[in-house]
């Protein structure tokens, strides 16, 4: 198993009436709610937390990209990754996961090839390159990309970046959206021919095929945990079998909130309010921005709409909004895995074996969680849980999906001239 300590870097101090007073945490949250001095504290706390994860020996630390978003304050994940790369270069365990750069919004996309190559070199060949399409809120509404062009731009950017990484030559690119006479990014990546690529996705068949054919790892990144993920990973594996791919669990990853304390009771006392902050404020999005026309393909739409109309089953977000979910419900529904180390270990083992996921993007910070509590959670997880579930799927080779890194060369000591 591989465990990544992941951070959204949320604004921790949204007003208590945020969700009543403002329509959305995303696209339109008032900038006036952001206090730069508080923001300064938060950024550095969060970076300290991720650096601590490196000390604790997590397999990876991870960051991602959002725009105009009060729960994801990383419009540029690469900036955060570059800070982390200084410490990662000295670690023999931890890789650097950027999950990732939303390719369509980089102009030209060569910028991604360049910056990720810088990070790969800086980190000592330990970068995992994530290529999301990006949400409609980020890409269409906040960044104004025409939804009719988003996916085409994404695929073209992907092809351009991969060619830029693989090719030894200066080449020309005459694309639909990018025309470049000279593509020749410096530096080149430390990992040859390129860093492992992960694709965070929803449930579209197009994305499954894209990952399976290119040997990219598919990550289902939902805030609603393992039960929800199972609905997507199930069809992923079915499709994988159809296409004749191997069943390497490192081909898939899930996202999971995990909260560890001394006892089950204590976990609830310590974490519940912060989890509720996350689900009530950070998931408070305006449904007007849910999806621009054209963001999903018709194929995905048809599947999605049908299940939306079917039956009366509430969607997880709505269940949380109306406040009817108890702590136990959160656990039972799989939104969180929480409790004593023993509880979390048992649950996790069970889940990971059922899901056939080799990578877990661990969300160890939620909403308003203070720094000390996050450190505690990380430490308990790394010391009391992780070692006991590491063996799952260990019979499989992860090397296609994980960096190998290179150890640092000896630094030449300064020589005093006689």
């Amino acid at each position: 198993m591989k465990f990544i300590a992941f951070h959204f870097m949320p604004y921790r101090e949204l007003p208590s009436d945020f969700e009543e007073k403002y329509p959305s945490v995303w696209v339109t949250p008032p900038k006036t709610l952001f206090d730069p001095e508080r923001g300064h504290r938060m950024y550095h706390d969060y970076l300290d937390e991720l650096e601590y994860a490196i000390d604790l020996g997590f397999d990876g630390v991870g960051v991602n990209e959002h725009h105009s978003n009060a729960y994801g304050m990383m419009p540029s994940p690469n900036l955060m990754a570059s800070i982390l790369s200084r410490k990662i270069r000295k670690s023999d365990k931890t890789s650097l996961l950027i999950l990732g750069n939303s390719l369509a919004s980089y102009n030209p996309p060569v910028r991604v090839a360049e910056e990720m190559a810088m990070l790969d070199v800086l980190s000592g060949g330990k970068l995992i390159a994530g290529f999301p399409v990006g949400t409609s809120m980020d890409q269409n509404y906040a960044y104004g990309i025409n939804p009719a062009e988003l996916r085409e731009r994404y695929y073209e950017a992907h092809d351009l970046i991969m060619k830029a990484w693989k090719s030894d030559d200066v080449f020309m690119w005459n694309g639909k959206y990018n025309q470049l006479r000279y593509v020749n990014p410096w530096p080149r990546t430390a990992q040859r021919p390129h860093p492992p690529v992960w694709i965070p996705g929803g449930g579209s068949v197009e994305t499954y095929d894209f990952c399976i054919e290119n040997q990219y790892s598919f990550s289902f990144l939902s805030y609603f945990g393992h039960k929800y993920a199972n609905k997507v990973l199930g069809p992923f594996w079915e499709r994988n079998d159809e296409l004749g791919g191997d069943r390497n669990p490192y081909k898939t990853g899930i996202c999971q909130f995990i909260f560890v304390s001394e006892t089950d009771e204590r976990a609830q006392i310590e974490y519940e309010e912060h989890i509720r902050y996350f689900f009530s404020k950070c998931m408070h999005t305006d449904r007007r921005f849910a999806e621009a026309p054209g963001y999903r393909t018709v194929k995905s739409l048809r599947a999605g709409l049908r299940s939306q109309f079917d039956g009366t089953k509430k969607r997880p977000g709505d269940m949380l909004k109306d406040g009817t979910m108890t702590w136990q419900d959160l656990i039972d529904e799989g939104f969180i895995i929480a409790g004593s180390p023993a509880t979390v270990r048992d649950r996790l083992r069970d889940v990971l074996q059922t899901l056939r996921a080799g990578n877990v993007v661990c969300l160890l910070h939620a909403g308003s969680m203070p720094h000390w509590l996050t450190l505690k959670n990380m430490q308990l997880f790394a010391e009391e849980v992780m070692p006991y579930v590491k063996d799952i799927h260990s019979e499989w080779d992860h090397s296609q999906y994980w960096p190998k890194g290179f150890s640092e060369e000896k630094v030449q000591e300064a020589v005093t001239q006689p």
Binding site: N140, Y141, G144, N146, P147, A148, E149, E152, K176, D286, R287, R288, F289, A292, P293, G294, V298, L301, R302, L305, R306, F309, D310
Partner: protein, 269 residues
């Protein structure tokens, strides 16, 4: 209501138009709005006086090839190709909203192809002092309230209709979204794709029709179009919003008929 015939017309290897055709008389091309082409009372009435050609925008109805059309310029050329296939050297063109914008572009680009232009609450210009609201970030009921004045009218009821049957409902939603997808391609994220730098080229006599209470593209835009198109007249219709053609069908039809009767002589430079 007369049933129009539906014809598929392939204009190049990528793009085909589905064109609804009805009526007899002088040819009139009708270009629909963001809601897609619906054969309604307005078109039915129009086809009592003219031969109406109503193409579906590529990507809607059975028209195909949206993904191969790069931009508005490509789209405009597709319509000229369609005119060729229909044997229309030139024709009167009527367009509503998005269709009005396309009609204006057609008249500005090749002045010989549009005989007389009727633009009903066209999109295409944008004023920061009167921004057109974001129609792609609106709940359906909010959009309905903006574009129809009388919420008890048949037009409003039609827009609220949701089929009981789940398969039908899914298909209706998909059709609605496909109409929006195609429209968004030429309107996202701000419905200003440069018409202001071309609009002065419109030489055709132009009738601008506006609902007085247009909640989507307010009348101030009518004045702007009127100012910028040399041979234009602006008619403002009482008790109507953006869907003025369906809200006040009779009046709009009669304005159009009067206008299309006029000859060049009626206009002075």
């Amino acid at each position: 209501m007369a049933q129009p015939i539906s014809k598929i017309i392939k204009i190049n290897e990528n793009v085909s138009f589905e064109v609804k055709i009805a009526g007899q008389g002088e040819p009139v091309v009708f270009l629909h709005n963001l809601g897609g082409l619906k054969w309604n009372q307005f078109l039915d009435e129009l086809s009592n006086h003219y031969q109406v050609y109503a193409p579906h925008l590529p990507g809607t109805g059975a028209s195909t090839g949206l993904e191969t059309i790069r931009d508005l310029w490509d789209l405009i050329l597709c319509y000229y190709d369609l005119f060729d296939e229909l044997g229309l050297e030139s024709a009167h063109v009527i367009g509503h909203s998005l269709g009005g914008m396309i009609a204006a572009e057609l008249a500005a680009t090749d002045q010989s192809r549009v005989k007389q232009l009727v633009a009903i609450a066209p999109a295409g210009l944008f004023r920061e002092d009167h921004p057109i609201p974001d129609m792609f970030a609106m709940l359906p009921e909010e959009l309905n309230r903006l574009v129809v004045l009388d919420q008890d009218s048949p037009a409003a009821q039609m827009m609220r209709y949701v089929p009981e049957d789940l398969d039908e409902r899914t298909e209706m939603m998909i059709e609605r979204i496909q109409n929006q997808v195609a429209a968004a391609k030429f309107l996202w994220p701000i419905p200003d794709k440069g018409l202001k730098s071309r609009i002065h080229r419109i030489k055709a006599q132009t009738l601008l029709v506006w609902g007085k209470q247009d909640g989507l593209i307010p009348v101030v835009y009518g004045e702007e179009f009127h100012r910028r198109i040399a041979h234009s007249e602006l008619k403002i219709i009482e008790s109507a919003s953006h869907l003025v053609d369906v809200e006040q069908t009779e009046e709009v039809i009669s304005l159009i008929r009067d206008f299309l009767k006029t000859s060049d002589i009626a206009f002075t430079l």
